[in-house]
């Protein structure tokens, strides 16, 4: 846990710790998915969790977003210990996420999908919404403006009114990102944002992630198993293997870590 800020080489300010995982252990029956892992996420940084397949990365993300409750360990968020919570309550605290297998509202338009990201910001009650004056109207206009800005930002204006079910994979990923971003999250969790994409799409996505962090100051925690992409994007990297943490630090530190090299390249056991 650190309370000081520092400035990176490219001039961005990384703030104090916003989330801290302390000795997290997660079991499914007798199988340990995560063993005693601790790390922190600092405000404004891009934090990556990497590791080979089955390392427990997605489980870690699910612990942060409340889909899994760990058997041991504590989650500290904004300086307070977080009690066990339902996923919707976690989302209510300002932690938004995307999914590896895309979870969008297929029957709704892109615009409606992104608007659901702002449900949390809408406070007008049913009566106020019914008479549609004052608070409700103001809120809807405000939220629409914010949403349109995000739609512009992610370059999906052309498909605003298209039902999501009709879109190709790469665009769906982008819509899901837009919905998560619309919530103006304190932490944005991305589960394999580049999975199943071609090189060009990966470049686009990388650009969006960097721009998002730059323009909105969004704190991002992402999972990826493609080492190359992650090293270019992130400020700090956690490396997992078989549910354990084997490395934590800046990309260059991690790259030279012998355990990490072994995990990725394989090593002869004797």
């Amino acid at each position: 846990m650190s309370n000081d800020s520092y400035v990176t080489d490219d001039g961005r300010t990384i703030g104090p710790t916003v989330m801290e995982m302390k000795n997290i252990t997660l079991r499914f029956g007798g199988v340990k998915a995560i063993t005693d892992i601790s790390f922190d996420i600092r405000e404004g940084e891009i934090r990556a969790i990497i590791g080979p397949n089955g390392a427990g990365k997605s489980s870690m993300l699910n612990v942060i977003s409340g889909f899994y409750v760990p058997q041991e360990g504590e989650v500290w968020y904004k300086g307070a210990k977080r009690p066990p919570m339902k996923p919707y309550q976690v989302a209510g605290q300002g932690i938004a996420r995307t999914f590896q297998n895309i979870a969008l509202f297929e029957g709704m338009t892109v615009l409606d999908n992104v608007m659901t990201g702002r449900l949390r910001q809408m406070k007008a009650n049913l009566f106020e919404q019914a008479i549609w004056k004052g608070k409700a109207e103001r809120e809807e206009v405000e939220n629409r403006e914010k949403v349109e800005r995000i739609i512009d930002f992610l370059e999906i204006q052309a498909i605003r009114k298209t039902p999501v079910g009709r879109l190709p994979y790469g665009l769906k990923k982008r819509v899901e990102l837009a919905r998560a971003l619309a919530a103006e999250p304190s932490i944005l969790l991305l589960d394999e944002p580049m999975a199943g994409m071609n090189v060009e799409e990966k470049e686009d996505m990388s650009r969006f992630i960097l721009d998002m962090n730059d323009e909105f100051g969004t704190t991002i925690a992402l999972i990826e198993h493609d080492m190359g992409v992650v090293m270019d994007l992130s400020d700090r990297v956690v490396v997992m293997d078989y549910g354990k943490k084997i490395g934590d630090g800046t990309p260059s530190e991690v790259r030279n870590n012998q355990d990490v090299i072994d995990a990725y390249l394989g090593v002869a056991h004797d």
Binding site: F67, A91, A96, F105, E106, M108, Q129
Partner: protein, 342 residues
Amino acid sequence: MSEQLVFAMEVFANGLMSGVLYALVALGFVLIYKASGIFNFAQGVMALFAAMTLVGIQNGQVPFAHLINAIFGTHVHSFGWNISSAFALILTVGVMILLAWAVQRFVFRHLVGQEPIILFMATIGLAYFLEGFADLMWNSEIKTLTFCLPGELCLPQGMNLAIDDAAYNAWGVGFFIDNLDITATLVAIVLVIALVAFSQYTKQGRAMRAVADDHQAALSVGISLNFIWVLVWSLAGFVALVAGIMWGAKSGVQFSLSLIALKALPVLMLGGFTSIPGAIVGGLIIGVGEKMFEYCFGIGQCFGGVINLGGATENWFAYVLALVFLVFRPQGLFGEKIIERV
């Protein structure tokens, strides 16, 4: 204008009105199916239960009177007061919300993530439970329902004389339309507009559609599934109450009220299980279709009576029409077409 043609028009108009009543029941199905993927077999019984509760409260009946008397040897039946319809309506809405909560808490919360067929079976169980519960709570006598809002605004009964007079002056033949049917139509129109507005333009409506589409995604944007499901079952309960009042005023509050749910099935197949306007259009088509078919071919009034099936076609026409639709357009007229990219 010939008497024959006026009669045909009368049949048509009455078909429209009974279609509205079918649609009212179908609406309740659509609401729950859209938001939770559950086909709620208990919708008809919910209408019965709502109507019985309303009448019971209005007449000051003691709930579970038979049970209390059997156990304690007392003879209580009535509180001996009459409550105004408006107040009883509010209390009944409260009871329906409580029912929605209980259904969610004790049944469906434990079945999250189960196959649709299992959820469907649960609603069948719920239907039988609720039927017995309603009888136990309010006894099984046939009750008449009189519903009056403040200012002597009662649910009207009988023939509409204004329309009859107008028709008589124009064509020299009377024109029969039931006042209650007209009222039911107006109420249904208001209800549908309100429901569509709710689901399209309010944040709860948007959350409802979101839950209907993808549970995981809904959770990740901060929507509580439990809250939305209780909300949806409450709405369905409210629609059931309206349907129960209209049907109850028409034919008395009795067990057969719960069977109108069966008539809602073909309506849903026509209109699509996921469309609120579809339920209305489906209801109208079924209502008009079965009346006109009966008129034309059932009792042989069209084409010089070439085809005369000898009546009672109303009992099966709707289901045959639904079967035809299942073959050629399984998603119904307005249902969401299933788009799937491979």
